[in-house]
């Protein structure tokens, strides 16, 4: 048995870490945080050149054709660096939806553009408050046009295209939902940026008015496809969260070693040590759950739904826990704009909601465990 990444995959992780350490310093992240740019275009271009954007996209569609395990190790580094680029929306959501349900022509059009960094994609699912559920999808699709409002849409203000969940029936069943592909630059679309918890990754409101759209996947199968997309994205986001949690723990540990109070490093006080030990515990549990998710994702195992939900919950908790206690270890300095702690706190709490809230995934996990036990 080998419940670990291969040497090649670990080498890829080191390569990504080195690249991001150079190109994505906290200073670079702050350009986007301070609102001076909507995302880091140079970094995006560099990620494309490194082959990271298309690492899990097959070679015939312009990618590296490596696989999801390779994407997992890159995701971890993106989270560690708090990268201010539309990576998760484009690569985990839009690209995965295309890979699962896209026609040959759709894949040919968009996947090479994703891999080369020319196209930013996203998933437009939510319509205000609430978690993923067919009944929360009100936007309608009829006669090839969409009408309705989506918000929040991750990276919606900078996206070139979107996968949109739309209502095509009113039976009250999952079959009422279909997916559509929309070229956001083609008209019929109004985009408004939304101020959000984490300015390093934008959120938008998108209004569709008789907007032309082409179906993605078969009519009435939208919910099934979405569920699979969200499961895959849950595992990939979990790796970003694990990377972020590890970085927050490291920052806290380093500060505790350097900062002197009462004549000794604050890391020698048990109250501080125990807080950091608990951060290590949650980060370790999250990493192990995420590894299992990676295995299920990469082998397309029947265990994926359960593994994805467990990874999602565990990694969300760990990143939130480590990010908040990193600030606590830093004391007052941790609460300043100048220190980087709040960037991870913002990212942790934004990511905790992006694919649906923690309580939604708790519910999903129990459903899926019951299904497995019944089977």
């Amino acid at each position: 048995m080998n419940f670990d990444f291969s040497d090649d995959q670990k080498q890829l992780r080191d390569q990504a870490r080195k690249f991001l350490a150079e190109k994505c310093s906290p200073k670079a992240v702050r350009v986007v945080l301070d609102g001076k740019a909507p995302y880091d275009k140079d970094l995006w271009k560099g990620l494309a050149e490194m082959g990271f954007l298309g690492v899990a996209i097959p070679e015939e569609f312009g990618g590296a054709g490596a696989g999801h395990l390779e994407l997992c190790v890159i995701a971890e580094e993106m989270g560690r660096a708090n990268a201010p680029v539309p990576f998760s929306s484009t690569v985990y959501l839009a690209a995965e939806a295309l890979l699962i349900a896209g026609s040959e022509a759709q894949k040919k059009k968009w996947l090479p553009a994703i891999a080369s960094g020319e196209a930013i994609g996203t998933l437009a699912l939510f319509e205000g408050k609430g978690n993923p559920s067919p009944k929360n999808v009100k936007l309608t699709a009829a006669n090839g046009v969409l009408n309705g409002v989506k918000k929040p849409v991750p990276d919606g203000a900078i996206a070139d295209f979107a996968v949109v969940a739309a209502r095509t029936g009113s039976s009250g069943r999952d079959a009422d939902i279909s997916l559509f592909l929309v070229d956001l630059k083609a008209g019929g679309v109004e985009v408004k940026g939304l101020t959000n918890l984490d300015p390093t990754r934008g959120q938008a409101e998108i209004t569709f008015r008789d907007c032309k759209a082409e179906p993605l996947g078969a009519a009435g199968e939208g919910w099934g496809i979405l569920t699979e997309v969200l499961d895959r994205a849950a595992v990939l986001c979990a790796f970003e969260q694990v990377g972020g949690a590890d970085r927050a723990l490291e920052m806290g540990r380093d500060y505790a070693l350097d900062r002197i109070a009462f004549g000794r490093p604050i890391g020698s006080f048990q109250a501080v040590k125990h807080m950091l030990a608990d951060m290590y515990v949650s980060a370790t549990l999250a990493r192990s759950n995420s590894y299992y998710g990676a295995w299920a994702l990469s082998t397309n195992a029947a265990e994926l739904p359960e593994a994805a939900a467990a990874a999602r919950i565990s990694a969300t908790q760990a990143f939130q826990h480590c990010a908040k206690n990193n600030i606590q270890v830093h004391g007052g300095m941790g609460f300043t704009w100048e220190f980087d702690c709040h960037m991870y706190y913002r990212r942790a709490n934004a990511m905790a909601l992006g694919l649906g809230s923690l309580s939604y995934w708790e519910d999903q996990l129990i459903d899926r465990m019951r299904k497995k036990n019944a089977a």
Binding site: F3, L257, Y292, E362, D363, L365
Partner: protein
């Protein structure tokens, strides 16, 4: 990434499985499967006798203490083969409980420090369960602060005379031998004046008194030593080097107790799956589901953390420090799980007798035993110190008694 055995591992697994299937005491399988923390008894048999018989059978066929060298009663197996054996032994592994201290701590310490003739004499019957061993470290004045112990050993010719008291000694009441940490020099700082021995628990002057625990059961004892004589050749390590010798034992303790620790989650999930609350099935209640999900990811996180360690073993690498979280997470969790299971029962949760209580009182028994898991083998607080210092590299505590002669350290708080 895969969960497949190598061909060699698969062959070992098949051999182990076949032998277990042909030899295990199957009549107890169901009862052992259903036993949980605080409730590991057999209805119609003495579990100690069943455990000893199973251990002897394993030893005779070469399946005891797999990772020990053959000449000391083991099999010379690789670490991954030991793990495969544990996986295959399944519920029968619960019968090894009474040997954990001897096999996990005393054996390795003897192997590292005893004379060759003693290893050959004492280790094989320890492996086979014919002799049970205990570990005599903790004292009333030294729990987490083990090095604060006061039991004296004084040299008298070729012998040492022991006087003092030990406490929390698991299984002393059925043990044949023990390893004993003593103070041989009270005039030097506390870590420097210790010396380790092993002794026959039937030596004149050894008195074992069971401790009635908060749970009502008696797993631990007080052990009194009155002019007990131990020959010098039963000394383990140099005079004054007992602290270093004991570190070998304690590292093994944390490794062995941390492996596959019980969380109570499978029991709770099973219980909630069939439990009816006032307004419907518990498993459909949002609050119950949220609790279950949070514990589910802790339990799975621990399971996959140990898989990562096993994976490292399989590749012939040393596992990382991740496994140090096991006891800390599981110990606190099983207490919370038991508390919540009783909460779900409402007023009826107070009934604990197996005949009248919900699911034979398993959660009540778990609740009463759980506080011990957060203390034994290193308290939660000590475990957090270990993680903070050894894994994260934070400074050790400032020890005010480090350079003070032992007999000058204050003994009263106020």
């Amino acid at each position: 990434m895969n969960f497949d055995d190598t061909p060699q591992e698969a062959e070992f697994r098949a051999t182990a499985r076949a032998w277990i299937s042909a030899n295990a005491p199957k009549q107890y399988e169901d009862e052992l499967r259903k036993s949980s923390l605080g409730r590991t008894q057999l209805k119609n048999a003495n579990i100690l006798e069943v455990a000893k018989a199973w251990q002897k059978k394993k030893a005779d066929a070469g399946w005891a203490c797999l990772h020990w060298p053959k000449e000391y009663g083991g099999r010379g197996a690789s670490p991954i083969e030991r793990v495969i054996w544990q996986q295959e032994e399944g519920p029968f592994g619960k019968l090894s409980h009474m040997f954990i201290i001897g096999h996990g701590m005393c054996g390795p310490t003897m192997m590292a420090f005893a004379r060759e003739e003693h290893k050959r004499k004492y280790l094989p019957p320890l492996a086979s369960g014919e002799n049970v061993w205990c570990q005599l470290f903790s004292e009333p004045a030294g729990g987490s602060d083990v090095a604060g112990l006061r039991t004296r050993a004084e040299k008298d010719g070729d012998e040492w005379i022991i006087n003092g008291q030990k406490i929390w000694t698991s299984g002393a009441h059925y043990s044949d031998y023990g390893i004993l940490l003593t103070r041989t020099d009270p005039t030097v700082p506390k870590h420097k004046g210790l010396t380790m021995f092993f002794l026959d628990m039937k030596s004149p002057g050894v008195e074992v008194r069971p401790i009635k625990q908060a749970s009502g059961a008696s797993d631990f004892n007080e052990v009194y030593f009155t002019n007990v004589r131990i020959p010098d050749h039963q000394r383990l390590g140099e005079v004054g080097d007992g602290w270093n010798v004991s570190l070998t034992t304690l590292m093994n303790e944390r490794m062995s107790i941390g492996a596959g620790v019980a969380t109570g989650f499978p029991e709770l999930f099973e219980y909630c799956s069939s439990l009816m609350l006032d307004d419907g099935p518990a498993i459909e209640d949002r609050a119950v589901r949220s609790k279950l999900a949070n514990w589910a990811v802790k339990a799975s996180g621990l399971r996959y953390t140990s898989m990562r360690a096993i994976s490292a073993l399989s590749k012939g690498e040393r596992p990382g420090p991740e496994n140090s979280i096991g006891k800390l997470v599981a110990g606190a969790m099983i207490q919370d799980v038991a508390t919540y299971a009783l909460d779900l029962q409402g007023a009826a949760g107070v009934v604990s007798g197996p005949e009248d209580a919900e699911v034979a009182g398993r959660f009540q028994a778990m609740l009463l035993r759980a506080p011990g898991t957060r203390v034994e083998g290193g308290t939660d607080e000590i475990m957090r110190n270990v993680i903070a210092e050894r894994v994260l590299g934070l400074p050790g505590d400032i020890r005010v008694d480090k350079d003070v002669p032992f007999n000058k350290i204050p003994t009263k708080g106020r």
